[in-house]
Amino acid sequence: MKEPTALTDHFALDIVASALDGFVPPSEAFDPAGDWRHTYRVCTLTRNCDVAGEVVIARKALDRGGCTLTVEYHKRLAGGYRQEVTVEIDCLGDTFSTPLRWRYDAEMFTPSGDAVAHTRIAHTAVVGDGFLVINDSTDTRRIAMPEACTLHWALFDAVQRLPREPFDPAAFTLLDHLDEVKPGHVLSYRGAIDVLLGARKVQRHEYEELEKGRIRKTRWEEEGGEMARLHGYQDLGQGIVPRVYWVDKSGRLLFLVAGLEAYLWTPTEAAS
């Protein structure tokens, strides 16, 4: 392994570096094709890195291959309101974790926990025979769908099982936010980087003697941390700003950065 570089040396991670001060990468064994459960802080990246919610994604491997993904997204809204989103997705175990069917349910709640009227929306969807069919209480939508398609949530699973080395870029249609059809996407390997994770920024003071007296100079230095090799994947295509996924050496997805939006892995107990 080469000398580790700073997060700020790498595009996309540079934007979230301040939020990763003291980040301790998980050390437990990880099998991307098995059962797992990850929690991510969802951040909005404007002047700061503000937390806009938490998302918990759990994978349960199925005997017949593929998996069921369960997504629980707790979105923080203005004024203490929140939106609770639950998605359960059955996926193939292929390159894209191609979705077969899913169930979606979302509703908003007041700060005191009451449901906000007319904000609940639920649907089920099935993908197959060249179509995506979405059913809710009011209608059925049937959308032509190419074979290579996936959901943004399914990519959280898929990238963890991709080769951690260059591979032929894979073209697909993205179902963003479940039902927004965005064609012309390409998923590819971005490369490996060796970075220092878990370092903390600390102030160092130095004193310099001048003719008129002593002055104090302050500078920031990174202290501690450990080297980690991260593998990057990128999704480029219509209707999204480029999304860069970073996984660790065992494939665990640690960071996803896309424009002003970031998902940062966090220990489950720290998330709430």
Partner: protein, 458 residues
């Protein structure tokens, strides 16, 4: 129609005059018996020509394009002030920013000026707001005249899908007793603002995706044009990126436009599924545009077309002409309030400055305005007539005149050319008269100013 608008020139037979008009359906029925609903979709920072339906080759906006095909799109559509809050105050009141008191960002609308929600609610409408407000708060949970569907928490890439999903839920589950006005206010493509502000990170010197090299949009024809300009206008949002950085900036902007388009599609689908589409007037616009590298500008604030021109698309199956491109009539964000009142069959509030677009939407003969005005930087004013754009800033010796027919990219300031002295004088006069008619109010304090005043008093 407002009684306060100047109508100096008559435009008769709008269909014949509209250059490039492509009517696919000439049959426009009489007014509906039921009061119509309104779905008012507002984007943030979306320039008029940043849509594939308006000819932009670098973006795919199938959902706005289907709205364009189903309705009337205006190619001479202008913001009243190309910055968020002032422009929005006009969209929701039909008054100029100096009349709403919202002359800069983050101010509330003056309490003497009713907003669209307050006005329609009196007439039995369910008035519902979802998304960015910015008058003054970005995502308040309460606002005058509207029931708020709360969203918020993040920029456009995190918020807009919540807005569209929540509007979908409302459209599919709302009580059917009353007609509705639903405002769906999307944030995108405003995220590009932070692209510019945080250019150190977001527009890195080394382009982060070499694979995109052959997909980056071309630079605009007026990229390097720097016509003489008032100081405030010239220095505000000028950037010196490399060509590749500019093109990457454009690439990102158009992806953000596509993000908004997808959310618009979700809401249009929901409207159709609700069974209310045939009785719903859909109005689509933006508060202002974005520099997009034209005149080497990012962001907004200034009166060049990239910043001041915005989409204005209106549709309602069977009631509004379909597939009509209106390239001649000068329209403004002021016109939304008048149009909504007209279709709702209620008298508009007093002193509206806008025109109802209804005659143009229904292909009827009408007298139309000769000019539109936009405020900029509080002290700047732009007046646009059929051929010219004239700009002046208070206490700045540099003024601007562009021949918009001969020089649509605004590259040559004709102000110093003696040949145009009469034209300039005529535009000054129009602007002076317009300014004289406005009923100014004391700008309401921003929440921060109000806090400071309160502290001083105590």
């Amino acid at each position: 129609m407002s009684t306060h608008n100047p109508t100096r020139r008559q435009f008769i037979q709008t269909g014949a005059l509209a250059a490039g008009a492509a009517m696919t359906s000439g049959s426009v029925s009489a007014a509906p018996k039921r009061k119509p609903n309104f779905l008012f979709i507002v984007c943030d920072q979306l320039g008029l020509d940043a849509l594939s339906g308006h000819g932009c080759p670098d973006v795919h906006t199938p959902n706005v394009d289907r709205l364009i095909r189903r309705g009337v799109t205006f190619l001479e559509s202008h913001s009243t002030d190309p910055v968020c809050s002032p422009a929005r105050s006009s969209l929701f009141t039909g008054r100029m920013p100096v009349e709403t008191g919202v002359i800069t960002n983050g101010r509330p609308i003056h309490p003497s000026v009713p907003n669209m929600g307050q006005w329609l609610r009196r007439d039995g409408y369910d008035t519902v707001y979802c998304g960015k407000w910015h008058l003054p708060g970005g995502y308040p949970t309460e606002m005058p005249g509207f029931n708020v569907l709360p969203v918020g928490g993040g920029q456009g890439d995190l918020v807009d899908s919540v807005v569209s999903r929540t509007c979908e839920a409302y459209l599919k589950t709302r009580p059917k007793d009353n007609p509705f006005l639903l405002v769906a206010s999307l944030m995108q493509p405003h995220d590009i603002c932070y692209w510019a502000i945080r250019n150190k990170f977001l527009v890195p010197k080394q382009l982060p995706f070499p694979q995109l090299a052959d997909q980056l949009p071309a630079l605009p024809p007026n990229h390097t044009a720097r016509p003489a300009a008032p100081k405030l206008l010239d220095e505000k949002m000028f950037r010196e990126f490399s060509d590749a950085q500019w093109r990457y900036y454009l690439y990102i902007y158009y992806r953000q436009v596509e993000m908004a388009d997808a959310d618009i599609g979700r809401m249009l689908d929901a409207l159709e599924a609700s069974g209310e589409a045939d009785n719903t007037v859909v109005i689509f616009t933006s508060d202002h545009g974005d520099g997009r590298g034209r005149h080497k500008h990012v962001s907004k604030w200034y009166p060049y077309d990239e910043s001041v021109k915005v989409p204005m698309v209106v549709s309602c199956p069977g009631q509004i002409a379909e597939g009509h491109v209106d390239a001649s009539h000068l329209v403004s964000g002021l016109d939304v309030m008048s149009t909504v009142c007209d279709y709702a069959g209620i008298a508009p509030p007093p002193d509206l400055r806008g025109y109802s677009l209804r005659p143009l939407l229904e292909q009827r003969s009408v007298e139309w305005r000769e000019f539109v005005v936009a405020d900029t930087h509080v002290v700047g004013r732009m007046i646009r007539t059929a051929q010219y754009k004239y700009v002046r800033y208070q206490d700045d010796p540099v003024e601007q005149l562009f021949d918009m027919q001969a020089d649509p990219w605004e590259t040559k300031n004709l102000y110093e050319d003696a040949h145009y002295a009469d034209t300039i004088a005529a535009h000054r006069k129009l602007l002076d008269e317009w300014e004289g008619r406005l009923k100014r109010v004391e700008p309401c304090p921003t929440p921060q100013e109000a806090q400071r005043r309160k502290r001083k008093k105590t």
